[in-house]
Symmetry: C2
Subunit: 162 residues, 2 copies
Amino acid sequence: MDKQEILQNLINAYAEAYQNLGYSSLMGKIVALLIASPEPQSLDQISETLQMSKGPVSQIARKLKEHQLIEKVWIPGERKDYYRAVPDIFGRAFANYASSMRRNRRLGEQFEELALSQPQQDAQLEHLAVRMNEMKRFYELMDEHNRLFLETWQEKVKPELA
Amino acid sequence: MDKQEILQNLINAYAEAYQNLGYSSLMGKIVALLIASPEPQSLDQISETLQMSKGPVSQIARKLKEHQLIEKVWIPGERKDYYRAVPDIFGRAFANYASSMRRNRRLGEQFEELALSQPQQDAQLEHLAVRMNEMKRFYELMDEHNRLFLETWQEKVKPELA
DNA sequence: TTGTTCGTTTGAAAACTTTCAAATGTTAAG
DNA sequence: CTTAACATTTGAAAGTTTTCAAACGAACAA
């Protein structure tokens, strides 16, 4: 397997992984390409490599930038935008996930509250309150672990960033 | 807000959360309904409550059962299938997630290997190897934390299960 | 057996998403 | 100010997913 093929395979694997996680496969492809590229890539280079027209690449690149997985870099004397993966892209992706888990925690809190605040209680409401309490506790504990994990990772990685 | 509305809101919130995570919103609705129900629900009850025909409900219920988020219960003297959320549904959902993260770890391992095994090295391959090594280490550490989290949670929950 | 009550499968319709090509903005150089 | 080189937006076409109604098949009851 030569270099070209390795890159193709990586792009494919990422496309599939992203799709499995419910994102567009193009998103995975762009991420894979930028992770694998030592040099920042222009929109043209990206769409050329991925054989996609610039429209979708531009849109997905913007979304990825919003989610802080990639960033634009300015290259002196160049008018094009160049993109690269952010330095700690894995940590960043995880931080995004952790924040969506915090929403679940809030759901648990909110609905436990609601169930308990009803004037006339019954088996159904009581059951709901118990389940929502479980949900709340689950995501609270998860959040603690998430923070700890990210912290541990960033301490391990920090030397590399310097 | 009355009981009916609370349930509606919960179902909606789950539908949205599931959709954000890239699953079908019906999946979230069924999960929410079963979490909120003290009694197991039949397919008919589910499709009645959710105002959906039986076809999709049947299919999605099967998928949820495959992922072990819900289970069939046998009710003596009844011919219908009854479903309920599994006892530790949050833990189970997390275990599924953790296992998809383990796939990412394997990707990192695999592509690091590939990049290093190329006969003629260059900057691009070297860069790839470094990035894939980072990926591998990230998901290894994550896996450790995931295990720890689940274990901690299950110890806390076990008393409730008895 | 035969009829009834279920769950599942199927095929078509509707809704949604992805993609492209072309038009429109935007920025910087001349 | 004008032009050139870009990125972004838009609207239409293609592809995909979700949904339903109806047909099918399995299991049970009589």
